[in-house]
């Protein structure tokens, strides 16, 4: 069955530290890849997405992610985190064969940034 794995459940960093959150998926076909962010008490917001083209995609607030097809990965990165980046981050995959666009979500990674 198709699945999405996020390796880190909870990450704690100090401000200005670099961030990399891992995401791997299991599906042999074409995919769309997305990262969503959920700030405390809020709903999910799209951070960035890869649909085609350049595998290095840039999103809002200085985040970027690289799609490595051979590794089935779509890791999220940020060179220098801020306290305001404290949130939960979800990796999601859409399987292209599915016209309805059903996303499969990872379990989420909670990021805590210490000031």
């Amino acid at each position: 069955a198709q699945s999405v794995s996020q390796h880190n459940h909870h990450v704690i960093l100090s401000e200005a530290a670099s961030l990399e959150l891992g995401c791997n998926y299991s599906y042999g076909g074409t995919v769309n890849l997305l990262w969503y962010v959920q700030y405390p008490g809020q709903h999910l917001q799209l951070l960035l997405k890869y649909f085609s083209g350049d595998p290095l995609v840039k999103g809002i607030k200085g985040f970027e992610a690289e799609f490595i097809k051979s590794k089935f990965s779509f890791n999220l990165r940020k060179p220098s985190v801020q306290w305001s980046d404290t949130a939960e981050y979800f990796c999601a995959v859409t399987l292209i064969y599915n016209q309805g666009g059903k996303l499969i979500f990872g379990q989420g990674t909670e990021l805590s940034v210490k000031p």
């Binding site: 809020q42 709903h43 309805g100 666009g101 979500f105």
Partner: protein, 115 residues
């Protein structure tokens, strides 16, 4: 303001009671979805609808039903609530008629507690 609204914001419900969570979108998206969010499990799809008049089962459909009488509304009904349905429920929508653009937009969520 275009977007997705959900009601109620939160609800405490006695086990065995019937409850309908409301979701309305004004973006004219063809597809709508219901997810539940539980700690450590990420978001799991309950039901979805690719277009008005059609619905489908997601990953965790048992105990829930949906209807899609028109494009804008997608209510989720718990016929007889049980404590394991305590969760945060998110409604989402997308314009999935173009397969390459499966970005989903999320509502603010409904926090449901079943006692």
């Amino acid at each position: 303001i275009a977007g997705i609204t959900q009601a109620p914001t939160s609800q405490i419900l006695a086990a065995g009671r019937r409850m309908t969570l409301r979701c309305t979108q004004d973006m004219r998206h063809n597809a709508m979805y219901w997810y539940r969010q539980d700690l450590g499990l990420g978001l799991r799809l309950i039901h979805y609808s690719n277009t008005a008049g059609t619905t489908g089962k997601g990953e965790v459909p048992d105990g829930y039903s949906v209807s899609r009488a028109n494009t804008d509304d997608f209510p989720l009904t718990l016929a007889s609530a049980v404590p394991s349905q305590t969760s945060v429920y998110f409604c989402a929508s997308s314009d999935s008629r173009t397969k390459l653009h499966n970005e989903q937009f999320f509502g603010p969520g409904t926090r449901l507690t079943v006692l």
